[in-house]
Amino acid sequence: MNEHVESDIPGRLFDRRLLGHMIRYVRPYTRGMLLAFTIIVPLTIMMNYLPLLIRRAIDDYLVPTESLTMADRFGGLISITWIFLGISVVVFFLRFAHGYLMSYIGQRIIFDMRADVFAKIMRLPLRYFDRNPVGRLMTRVGSDVEAMQRLLTDGLIGLATDVFTIIGILGYMIYLSPKLALILIVLFPVLLGILIFLNGKVRAAHREVRKRQSAQNAFLQEMITGMLTIQLFNREEDTRGRFSVFNQRLRDALLHSVKWFSYSFPATEILNALTLTLVLAVGGFMLIQGDPALTIGILIAYLAYLRDFFRPLDDLSEKSNLLQSAMASAERVFALLDTPEEICDPEKPVALDRFRGEVELDHVWFAYNDEQWVLKDVSTRVRSGESVAIVGATGAGKSSIISLISRFYDIQRGSVRVDGRDVREYRQSDLRQRVGVVLQDPFIFSASIADNIRLFNPAISMERVVEAAKYVNAHAFIMARPGGYEEVLHERGAGLSTGQKQLLALARAIAQDPDILLILDEATANVDTETEWLIQDALKKLMKDRTSIIIAHRLSTIRHVDRILVMRHGEIVEQGSHADLIAADGYYKRLYDLLSHQPPGK
């Protein structure tokens, strides 16, 4: 349910479809990326020139020669030192510029991706949220996006840097001594092969660790949440036992990964030592034989080059690891971005200012999934300003009607019309801004009470907020709070009672000044009688002179409406006023009996 629990399946390294997707994000920064690439060339050339300088110092000045005086040798040494210093300074700036540039581009790419992912999630249909816990979506916006950015910047550019460094060093080595360089060229594929093999082992071990980690976390999370239940039913001992199995499995996987990690880390050292041994042997032999192509300075420079040569090599094999996990992230993010939105805005949405408030369901057939019809050929018409209550047993399709009017779902057959036009002709946000929905479990943002009422709309003045709160009887409890309207509410409205949250939701609905009001008023426990009365009173006022459709649970709410629709198994079976329906002595009468606290058979 959160970021601790997620299976981690590595993606394939080079997936053309994914790369295509990613290029879209890189394109705006092509020039920056190209610049970063270009910097790499002088950087690697200069960086790896330094051992060559040392060779020159050794061969030309340090090794005793008859042709130069002591003073000349000192002078030569000092001039080499100056060059060394100059190059070091330039390398410092190039490195910094390169790093800064990459960070900047990386940050911008993250920004773009995050904005896209967030916007996409906001466009997804309701059923997507039912299937995907919030924690999973958070991972997409958070770490998955970051992993992808690392893939693009560190990954791509890092790869290029490593390759350039290896080429650069090889170039210098060939220049210094083609014979010695031959050793490395012959060994190179073998070295790379060994490193890739070891890294593969490490990666496989890590994957197993992550799998077990995630299994353990899933278990852990559930047990922590249900700990009191476990205690009440005396299951502690048993639960500890079950946990220790997870814990031991994780430890064993970790120890296994440590084993391969321990091999892979000194592997570079060993390979370095082996190559060095060969170079020393061949080089020493050549020197003893008096081969003029080799000097002691070259041999010493080789010491430095070999050392630098293995770093990017190791990096390269490690980077493939990073790339793979980033690919998995990329796959998840793009899968999200490619999720069909199902409910789309029309090409040319109908302009919308205000609704008169006519709602019509015209032979509506609707199913959440293809098999079961939730609404079967439902037709009804709500006049402007009319208030309608929908009653029926749970699952009769009441709340579906409300979801359809604000177009949370699209219907399979028929038409849902507002002011004579199909809801699919409006832009969704336009439609929903004019159609207010009061939910039974209102969502409270961690923001001030005022912002919760105005929903961050700067156009709604403070006076309007207070007016709305007064209208729905919420003003008194708001003023009783320490911060009044400016009090910042906590996550999910902790500290507010259920009743207060509902009053706030009513104030929010009225502050948005909707033309059509849809109210889900299912039974809510934990509301005391007084608040209950305040809510009922507010509802009564809200529904006056406004097209309103309420899903009523309590009969006291239904009293005030103009018309009652009685639903059963997805169909409207009866409609009319309360008195008419009671007189008709049909299904409503039975529902009514049930609702009025008379257990049947008594």
Partner: protein
Amino acid sequence: MVCTFMQPEPMPISSYVLRYRRWALFGFISVACAIGLGLYIPYILKDVIDGLETGVLDLHGLKKLIGTFLLASVLASVFSILMRRILLGVAHHVEHDIRRDVFARLTILDRGFFQRERTGDIMTKMSSDLFSVKDMIGQGLLQGSRIMIGFPMAFGIMFTINARLALVVMAIIPVISIVFFVIIRLIRKRYDAAQEQFSLISNFCQENFGGFRTVKGFGIEERMKSRFRDLNEKFIDLNMRLTRVEEPVWPFMVFMFGMGTLLLLLAGGRLVIRGDLTLGEFVQFNQYLLYLQWPMLALGWTSNLFQRGIASWKRIGTILNANPDVFDRPDVKPAPPQANGDIVLEDVSFADGESRLINNISLHIPAGQVLGVTGPTGSGKTLLISMMCRLMDPSSGRILLDGRDLRDYPLTALRSRIGLAPQEAFLFSDTLANNIALGLQPSDATSGFPHEEKVLWASGVAHLREDVDQFPQKFSTMLGERGVTLSGGQRQRTAISRAVALDTAVLILDDVFSAVDTQTEAAILAQLLPILRKRTAIVVSHRVSTLKHVDRIIVIDDGRIVQDGTHGELTSRPGYYREQDEMQRLEARLEGDSP
């Protein structure tokens, strides 16, 4: 069984490590050997270079030196492998042990703790905080010992070769340290600022995804998107501020090491030209300089690891050192085998800080009585029954079961005598059958699933069976994310089944019909009441339709019993209960009269 509720003393972190001291010692020896060999290798290089330069080295000598070089290198790598495997392995063992103890501690902590601590925080403590501690131990032992042994040894050798040259070359160290120290603090400050902004973004996302019905319902996606952009824009600014101090660090380090080489070239080169230093010694010196790079870099990293590790260990300590308020007294005696279910509350009060939530309640519930509890929201009903099943202890007064203080029962024994179906039942992602049989001792399934008979009976009583029969997998249906999601009413009925299946002497039902329609409620009660009367039962409810079936009703208001009597008695007296009854009747009558 009693011992599971004892409170073991929390251990300091050192004792977790000391348990593996023998391994750690082997690890340290490996570190010392690896370092020793690593520092010996430049000597061989020196001999090779000097031999080659002066021309005194023949092929035989070269072979010998190279053989030694290879052997020393291979041995060094072997020890390098050993030290990592051993010391990092120790860290993982410690991690496992700590995690085991933390979980064990969680199983004895009580309601108060789980109300204070959010699940996400506990999870973080058991994952990322524990990783920091593991890193502190593993990398701390490994790098710490490498630095402590490697640094002085390399420096010492350089000093013996040429003291003045060693001092000159080492001039880079104070510069590196000072810059490092200053910049690390700056980095941390800016990093924290960026992280803070990131948690704002996280919270923002969490709210918008969690409250998507509201966001979509009011069509305010655009507004939210632009707020999200603003938050992110600021995040990038903060990150770039961090980058400006963080990005130069590595290039600067490389530059400074380069300066080390430069100093060696200048000062050492002079000595070589003068003949005071051999070329081999010059190379050897350079090797040590390179050897020192790592500990210098690791110093900052390791100290960082330690700081983080210690902070994390403190956070883990909030679990490990937490003590439950409800636990078995050391002198607790075994419970009598039989329980009748006679409950007495003697002057029971409960205070949370300043506010007294339960005020001097005294009450006798004889065995076999079905007691209804009602009262306004927040009056203390749930609190009262929480004390009856000892989820918390009263601040003063006592609760007796069969004449014996609840605190004198071992918790396990008490909980097999008092069953609770809570307001919001927690269902595990397990089969429905296992969820119902939660409190029953695990047993092998003889047919179908464990405790089949009991589960069928209990679910029948709670009217859950009809629903279950519609599931394709019946009682083997998995619940939770990978299985079916039960409706509110089904959850409550599962909770009732689970509690009924236990056969406890006392059964408490806390508002378990709120999501069940009245028709089903009546049907369940018809089956449940005869069973409840064989025990002692407490039924909390707001509905008169529920309460009118019970033997006796108490009304709680503001932590006090304000009314006590049968349905008939209470409806004939003025007070909360009659008001409720009248209101609910009035409501019904108004419906009938309305035109």
